[in-house]
Symmetry: C2
Subunit: 195 residues, 2 copies
């Protein structure tokens, strides 16, 4: 159970978060450590190569995750809480990660991701959202009306879409090395579906 401090439980003060939000933050808290455990110290042949043309490497993907946390999710959360449907979200710049990665090492990015994620989750917890808040509505520039619950669920699913991409981009580097086994390796048949 995840919570913020207001009522006493085993010597610590907890207010129970809505279940769906608790599931969402349980994942969001784990992603930086999972990516770090997978990637930190790996040879650059795994992390700096992409799938060809202008596709992303693992390095780019971690930059994108940082940029999303810095620019997108909590900013949109606050737009919903402050303005509701009256103010559309700022569009998200999918190339915004280029500023995040310039001059950085993979290790820098992994540390920056852990840091910004912890900051943003602390901001989220400080809002002390209740179940009914998840139904609050905002306006997406393309989709129109969305709810705060959908936005926060998408933050978690967005982590998963990029974990999916990281595993695919890494596997791509071994597409020849595996020889005939390519037939059995689902990840090497994934078309990417735009992420």
């Amino acid at each position: 159970m995840i919570g913020v401090r207001t009522t006493p439980t085993a010597g610590v003060y907890y207010r129970r978060m809505p279940d769906t939000l608790s599931e969402t933050t349980a994942l969001l808290r784990r992603t930086p450590a999972a990516v770090d455990a997978l990637v930190r110290g790996l040879p650059a042949s795994w992390t700096e190569r992409n799938e060809g043309d202008s596709t992303w490497s693992v390095f780019d993907i971690v930059g994108h995750l940082i940029h999303g946390d810095r620019a997108d999710w909590m900013s949109r959360t606050r737009t919903i809480l402050e303005f509701g449907e009256s103010k559309p979200f700022e569009p998200f710049d999918r190339s915004g990660h280029q500023r995040e990665v310039a001059g950085k090492s993979m290790e820098d990015l992994l540390s920056a991701f852990a840091r910004v994620r912890a900051e943003k989750l602390a901001e989220l917890e400080a809002l002390q959202l209740r179940t009914e808040d998840l139904d609050r509505r905002g306006r997406h520039p393309v989709f129109g009306v969305v709810t705060l619950g959908q936005l926060l669920s998408t933050w978690a699913a967005h982590d998963l879409t990029h974990l999916h991409q990281i595993s695919r981009v890494m596997a791509y580097q071994y597409r020849d090395a595996v020889g005939p086994w390519i037939k059995y390796l689902g990840v090497l048949h994934c078309q990417g579906h735009g992420g």
Copy 2:
């Protein structure tokens, strides 16, 4: 650089592994910690649900990774080194994980995966393989002739195919929660490609 002890470097004895093997083991060493960081302590709503019908949950997938390490990769490596093309590999039982997971908790499985992976990598290092060993040939029951290099690369790519599957199975649990954002979440458009 990964190595086994034979020549002195900074007070420790190292023999340099072939580069491709070093890349492969760099990934293999990290997978259990990455899965652990992502999954340990997560609510069961993320880890015990599947994609419907007889598909696998995260729990099943970790069981399968354990079973692969216990029954498959190093056993086939030894078959190649001892018998070459003269003896086909034992077929791998894709439902063999059912024995691994029976009566276990998710936490048990994560610890078992870390343990068996460390054991199997120690066995691999003890073989002190050289670059030319990677060209040694064995016989796959379906594909026919394969090399040791292809087998070991497939071990790593198999980790990635199941990381890819883990992220997809988890995202599937949020397919409704994300509302219209499903359009942008590639992982929710992944058909699975058999893994």
